[in-house]
Amino acid sequence: MSISRREFLKVSAAATAASTIGVSLLPGMQKELFADGLNWHKSVCRFCGVGCGIMIGEKNGKVVAVKGDVKNTINKGHLCVKGFYLHKVVYAKTRLLHPMIKKNGKFERVSWDEALDYVAKKFNQIRKQHGPDALAFYGSGQAETEETYIANKLFKGAIGTNNMEGNPRLCMASAVGGYLTSFGKDEPAGTYADIEKAELFLLVGSNTAEAHPILFERIMRHKAKNPDVKIIIIDPRKTPTDQVADLHLFPKPGWDLAILHAMARILIKEGYADENFIKQSVNFKDNKKNLTYEEYKQFLEQFTPEKAAQISGVEPDKIVKAARMFGKAKTAMSMWTMGLNQRTRGVWANNLVTNLHLITGKIGVPGSDSFSLTGQPNACGGVREGGGLCHLLPAHRSVKNPKHRAEVAKVWGVPVSNIQPKPGKHTVAMFEALNKGEIKGIYIMCTNPAQSLPNASKYWKGLKEQFVVVAESFFPTATTDYADVVLPAAFWSEKEGVYGCTERRSQYMEQVIKPQGEARWDAFILRDLAIKMGFKKYFEKYKTAEDIWSEYISLTKGTDMDLSGAPYSRLKKLRGITWPVPSVDHPGTYKRYTKGDPIFDALPAAKKKGRRMYFYGKPDGKAVVWARPPKGPEEPTDAEYPLALSTGRVLEHWHTMTMTGTVPELVRAVPKAYVEINPQDAKKMGIEDKEQVIVETRRGKLKIEARVIDRPEPGTIFIPWHWKQWMANILTIDAFDPGSKEPEYKVCAAKIKKA
């Protein structure tokens, strides 16, 4: 590379970095700098649920560079280390380049026609012999909304089964359950714009610094500018997020509900409650009946700081301090992720965080919100909003509701009788049914359940025995090992479509390059499969991605998540827009249930009666403060298994490493899995740092390297779950929340011995 080119790139790099913090190093030069050789295209990061804007640099039909999108309101030009290397994943050696059918135990390359004819024939045979419920679809929060929409129509509307699930069941179903039971409608009331207006952050079960680094950066930048901003963490493990914490409460894994009740008790007792807001906008309930405010206070009386300390293991004075910090702050924003959601009482845990906001009125105003963070880039958009779970239909509709079925069937152009009124099998039940042979054929798209399911090895039987189709961009994966057919799917930058992120923002992504090899767009693979299965009249109309998106947003019109004002023509010009957005001239909605929300604004004045918030998902517009029992984990520690095992992520890797495992820089940064053990525990067990140990639970054993470090509290251990060769999910428990059906990845009982 010539010096001039090198200098040019150096200045470009500096100018881009500067622009992300609002600094112009070279006034007026940026446009010219980037005009040389590269074509830049607007996109969205392929990893977590934050929704960072990425600009893809393309040259001669190849992706050669990325930069943060300065115009994107979410990341303002910054990227984390995963996004930094995203362009390299496109050209990974493990890209699946052509369809293959397993013949005599070995994959053989076949044509698209042969592959789809084979799948269509097998699926039709199964449907004819065993009925539609012998088929299933398992999708992904990484698929585009258009892709999930077509899958939904094929399985629920054409084949006629509600056995349609996706991996968001494993990561945010409890947040859905929390919002529905507390507010009556899914997804947060606020947006990321609250971050810069918050005086206090309550981070619960969230290693924000590693799992959502760009949001962490925004929090950190806000705190640096405003030293009075406080951060409280409730998490069993010390993480890099601690570097900005003012207070950290370390509960025993799974035992934090009592802390949240104790905080609520203190908030009310010490006068931090917003009594007027409570009167106007809140009801109280326990698991069986409505409560009065007084009865709720009586319920809370058992949760003295001392009692909560006894249950949770957190010192009482820290609980009092946290409550007072929350109460004194004029505005507060809670954020949580898997530490709350992946629990057998994940819905309850979500409710109890939201309780703190409802009691104090710290919701519906700038800087205050009860805000669930999501783990995948389109879990909210495609699966939650698009209806990609077994009980849902598009636009927050339910299969149980006859009006909803009729509305969807009309737009899909299918007989309403095709859509079953009973929910299908949720994720764990679906893979149980594969094991039992009740489900005989499954289509898996853009996800890796053989590694990501809890108690994973239990479910390999069904994958091995039944007919399995895997549509993927990468090969091999733990799941393709069990596939009968693999279909190469176009990857990020090779297809257009929409991602909807945590803050209700839908963003359009351009297709920049042609797919590698013979890879094709998932939505068109499914469309063509549908046609081969005999559903031509329902699917032949979809010629472009825009055809699909336009039909989808027509189904959102008039719903709480109205996207009818966000056609492609508009999304192509914007860095996304936050729903509800009921018309093409609507600017999008910052806060739901309050002034500025078009649904709130359209309510009759008599209904609002001067109320600041009206939770229109509830019959009387009042949110619910829940008195939930302080239940602990499904599998508490005991004499035989004395350690609480938790799993999670590291900054450099993501999910099952099908993407980050292809980037040498990221692999070298964290090359292998390990189990974190507190030095006190390690000393007791005579375990040295870097020594090989066996971690054992009631479900399996894993030989792994010990990392003796003070991140986990004594009595707890932690394993990052990304690696196939150190598969943490053979240890995790598949017990699930009875409401959300989300499994309890975050805690089970374990023991360790030297290998």
């Binding site: 090198r6 470009s12 500096a14 881009t16 970095a17 290397y85 680094p213």
Partner: protein
């Protein structure tokens, strides 16, 4: 050849120390301190592997760095060899 433009966020009382240390390093060019705690820098290396090693070394060995956020990266010639 790999080049990265980054924003380095420092602890408020360590900003100048971090800047000095960065300026001592070969293949690192700084572009000033901004907003009190943010340093703009460009890392250059012969390969993306070296770039990664440099980034790790900086984060591990220079006291006072709270976070390092890449804003731009190119490995143009490495990728041109692919496909």
């Amino acid at each position: 050849m790999a080049i990265a433009g980054v924003v380095i966020v420092t602890q408020p009382d360590k900003t100048m120390h971090v800047l000095e240390k960065l300026n001592e390093m070969e293949n690192v060019t700084t572009y000033g301190v901004h907003n009190d705690v943010q340093i703009i820098a460009v890392f250059e290396a012969n390969s993306s592997k070296s770039l990664e090693e440099m980034s790790m070394e900086i984060q591990e060995n220079i006291e006072g760095i709270m976070a390092l956020y890449p804003a731009y990266v190119t490995t143009e010639d490495e990728l041109e060899k692919l496909a």
